[in-house]
Every structure is written in structure tokens, then in C-alpha cells.
């Protein structure tokens, strides 16, 4: 749960959208209108926050909060 909260907080800042309006199934592109540059910046912040490297080819599969949270849970040290 803590991971998801952190993820939501980072996404909230990147998208300038309130935390309350971001749910587990929220999609970065469809719901938050993030463009490709927004996505790169956000993934960079995830890497920094969680000390995990997210390979470029992997980021294309991470479309929602859930996707990111699951990836981080599986790959975090």
C-alpha cells in the first residue's frame, strides 16, 4: 500500500492532478493526458524514489498506477 501511495503522489505532481482523483486503475495517457515527455520524466522520478531501474522497453507496458505499483513490488530490492 505504501508503494502505491508514493506512486500516486509522484503521478499527482507530474500530472498536476490532485491525489484524490487518482485511483489504482487510472491510466497515464487516457485519464491524465500525459505525453511522452511527461512519461519519461515520471519514470525517472520513480527510478529515483524507489532505487529501481526501469528499462525503456518496459515503460511502454506500464500504463496505469497498478502496472507501475506491481512492477515496483516485483523488482524493488
Amino acid at each position: 500500500m505504501e508503494i502505491q501511495e508514493k506512486v500516486i503522489s509522484i503521478v499527482s505532481e507530474a500530472a498536476n492532478v490532485e491525489v484524490a482523483n487518482i485511483k489504482a486503475e487510472t491510466s497515464f495517457v487516457d485519464d491524465l493526458n500525459l505525453d511522452s515527455l511527461d512519461m519519461v520524466e515520471m519514470m525517472m522520478k520513480m527510478e529515483e524514489e524507489f532505487g529501481v531501474e526501469i528499462p525503456e522497453e518496459k515503460t511502454e507496458d506500464l500504463k496505469t498506477i497498478n502496472d507501475v505499483t506491481s512492477y515496483l513490488k516485483a523488482n524493488a530490492n
Partner: protein, 415 residues
């Protein structure tokens, strides 16, 4: 080919003297200094510790929201802030121009230098994977014109000019040309600059170009005075809205002035020193007069480049005397850099705006700190106190490193 007349319908200014045209103008005619000591700096890293900084500035939420704000370097913030004032003053948003007939040409000397400096540190400390995807768009010099186009849906010509301290002046000339030739109906032009960092100050200081009067910041910018010892860095923006005069008249716009002439030359002499005989600046002013189709005696006011450097002020004085002869002593000259400092690539923007304001108000802002005039600078520089004068034509000079020169002439609009 018949050229269109070019009207100025909106102006704005942002610098150490204030955040709006009215505030800046009020301080200019009172002869106030907008130069202040830097706060929160490591003095070891700043050879010069004062500048004409824009204080207490933050951009309006409707121009850049919190998300966007961090993604653009400060020169883009300044350009947007000032453009918003000028565009609203001109009533351009209510004008019914084709979006493809409205453009923007904006000057900047160094663009987003501060973000290059800070990102370089991240690159060295954390490696290439930590370089932001917004780094490039944050600093490229044309992003002020680009972001302005997005804000106001200007789909015509869009680019930046970069010619050091003549950048904004060249931008205005290029924008005026677009209208004269009928390629555009309305243009947002001028310039912005925001590069007050330890590294830029160190660079200019190494050139011996900057005044080092750290203990007397408000006295340091003193063009044409015996004690002058270098320029004082400034920052901010000066923006003009230009329109096809016939179309501006037809829509009932409040026309402030006309852009009637400009000249542009190169010294072809030295990377930073002015040509001692004015081989670049004299023909530059002459070209502008010829283009305007007026006699030299018709110029009432020159807003000089006058940066307060020992060589530059003499060279410009000599050039003015060569161009204007006896009339050089009858017109008023002033260097408002004495108050707002040197805005580098935005200098020609803010100083053009000041010329237009002077024509409209019948008031010439002074050269402050002119306590003991250099014998080699023997013109009427409007020392220390503003002067009232009924004027028809004002001329602005902007000269840049690389030996580039630009002169613009504005005419008061007679209704």
C-alpha cells in the same frame, strides 16, 4: 512595391524597476535605480554581487501552471508575462485576424543558460539517465516565441533572433518587415533575458566588462560619467505588439507609435570591442534614417546603447556626433541602462518600449548617476532628471558582441 505602415498597438516592460509598463515607467521618470545586491549567494562564487534583478516575481497560473512552470527556464516566463500585458493592452485577442497572419519573433541573447548550468551539474553528479526530457525545450532560444504561439494561437511566422545585446532590436526589425511586406498582419516581438547566474557573471567579469562596485550597487551603472567602470547586468523583457497600421485603424485599435525605420550593420572589426571610428554604428544609424525617409534633424530623442563601459560610451557618442552633426547637441540622449541595467538580448525590447512611452508622454527618462560628465562624452544625456519635450521621432541603438549593430526609429502616431 508599396510597403505597409507598421503600428505599435501594445507595449510592456519587466525589469528590476517593476513588473508592468506603468510601474517601470513611473520609476524611470523618477530616476530610480532598479539595481540591487544579490541575496543568498556564495560571495566566493560571484565576482560581482549585484544586478538589476527582477524581484518577487512569479508567473500567473493561467500562463504557466505549476506543472509547466518548472519546465521552462526563466526567460520564457518573462517573455510570457510581458506578452500577456502587451497583448491585452493592444486588444489583440478581440481582433479578427487569421491566426496564420499573426506571428512572433523574439530576441534572446543567451536563452536558457541557467538550466544548462544546473543540468550540467546533474549530468556530472548522476549521469545521463537523470537528464530531464524537458531540458532541451526549457532552454532553446526560440521557445519563448513557441510557447507564446501556443498561448494565443499565433500560427504565423515563429522564431528567435540571437545577436547578443542586439537580439531584441533585430527581432523588432524582422517583425516589422513581416508586416511591411504584407506577410503578417500582427506580430508579438521584442525580447527577454534571464541569465543572472554565478557562471555568466564570472564570464562577463573575466572580460572586464562588468562594474564591480559591490558596495554601491545603485551607483554602479553610470553611462557617460567619468567614474563609469563597466556595465551592470539586468534581466527582464520588453514586448511590442506590431500591426498593419491600416488594419489596426480599421479595428479601432489604440495606436501608440509607428516603426518607421531600422538599420543593421556589422563592425567587421573585433569580437567584443567597438570599432574606434564607428565604421559599423554610423552607417547603421544612417540606414535607419534613410529607411524612415526623414532628415536627421527630425530625431528628438536617442535611447542610447550606453552601457557604462569606458570605451563603448565614447564610441557611441562619437558615432552620434558624426551622424547628426550640430543636431547631436540639440537632441536629447539618455541611457536608461543607468536604471534598469543591461538586459542583454532584451535591451532593444525594453528600450524601444521606453522610446514609445517617451513619445506618447512627452517625457524623456534621464541618465542617472551622471554626476561628473566625461569630457569625451559631451552631448546632452538628460542628466539625472527627466525632461519634458514634445517629440515626433525617437531612435534606439543596440550593439552586440560579435560587432553587430541595430538601430530602430519610432514615430509618434498623430491621430
Amino acid at each position: 512595391m508599396k510597403l505597409n505602415r507598421v503600428a505599435v498597438t501594445g507595449i510592456s516592460a519587466l525589469c528590476g524597476l517593476g513588473h508592468s509598463m506603468d510601474e517601470v515607467w513611473a520609476n524611470l521618470i523618477e530616476g530610480k535605480s532598479g539595481i540591487s545586491s544579490m541575496k543568498d549567494i556564495d560571495p566566493k562564487m560571484w565576482p560581482v554581487q549585484f544586478a538589476g534583478t527582477v524581484n518577487d516575481f512569479s508567473i500567473a497560473e493561467d500562463l504557466l501552471d505549476l506543472k509547466e512552470r518548472k519546465r521552462f527556464d526563466l526567460f520564457i516566463h518573462y517573455a510570457l508575462h510581458a506578452t500577456d500585458e502587451a497583448i491585452k493592452a493592444a486588444g489583440l485577442l478581440d481582433a479578427k485576424y487569421d491566426p496564420y497572419m499573426m506571428g512572433s519573433i523574439m530576441g534572446t541573447g543567451l536563452g536558457g543558460f541557467p538550466v544548462i548550468e544546473s543540468t550540467t551539474e546533474i549530468y556530472h553528479a548522476k549521469g545521463p539517465r537523470r537528464v530531464s526530457p524537458f531540458f532541451i525545450p526549457a532552454f532553446i532560444p526560440n521557445m519563448s516565441a513557441g510557447r507564446i504561439s501556443m498561448q494565443y494561437n499565433l500560427r504565423g511566422v515563429n522564431y528567435a533572433t540571437s545577436s547578443a545585446c542586439a537580439s531584441a532590436s533585430h527581432a523588432i526589425a524582422a517583425a516589422a518587415s513581416e508586416i511591411m511586406l504584407g506577410r503578417q498582419d500582427a506580430m508579438v516581438t521584442g525580447g527577454s533575458e534571464a541569465v543572472i547566474t554565478g557562471l555568466t557573471m564570472a564570464g562577463f567579469a573575466s572580460m572586464k566588462a562588468l562594474s564591480k562596485w559591490n558596495d554601491q550597487p545603485t551607483k554602479a551603472s553610470r553611462p557617460f560619467d567619468k567614474e563609469r567602470n563597466g556595465f551592470v547586468m539586468g534581466e527582464g523583457a520588453g514586448i511590442l505588439i506590431l500591426e498593419n497600421l491600416d488594419k489596426a485603424k480599421a479595428r479601432g485599435a489604440n495606436i501608440l507609435a509607428e516603426v518607421v525605420g531600422y538599420g543593421a550593420t556589422a563592425d567587421a572589426y573585433h569580437i567584443t570591442s567597438p570599432h574606434p571610428e564607428g565604421e559599423g554604428t554610423i552607417p547603421c544609424m544612417q540606414q535607419a534614417l534613410k529607411y524612415a525617409g526623414i532628415a536627421k534633424e527630425e530625431i528628438d530623442y536617442i535611447n542610447a546603447h550606453g552601457t557604462s563601459t569606458p570605451l563603448g560610451d565614447i564610441a557611441e557618442t562619437n558615432a552620434i556626433k558624426k551622424v547628426f552633426g550640430d543636431h547631436a547637441y540639440k537632441l536629447n540622449v539618455s541611457s536608461t541602462k543607468s536604471m534598469h541595467g543591461h538586459l542583454l538580448g532584451a535591451a532593444g525590447g525594453i528600450e524601444s518600449v521606453i522610446c514609445i512611452k517617451a513619445l506618447n508622454e512627452g517625457v524623456i527618462p534621464p541618465t542617472i548617476n551622471l554626476d561628473d560628465q566625461d569630457e569625451k562624452c559631451d552631448l546632452n544625456y538628460t542628466a539625472n532628471t527627466m525632461v519634458k519635450r514634445d517629440m515626433q521621432y525617437a531612435l534606439n541603438n543596440s550593439f552586440g558582441f560579435g560587432g553587430t549593430n541595430s538601430t530602430t526609429i519610432f514615430k509618434k502616431y498623430l491621430r
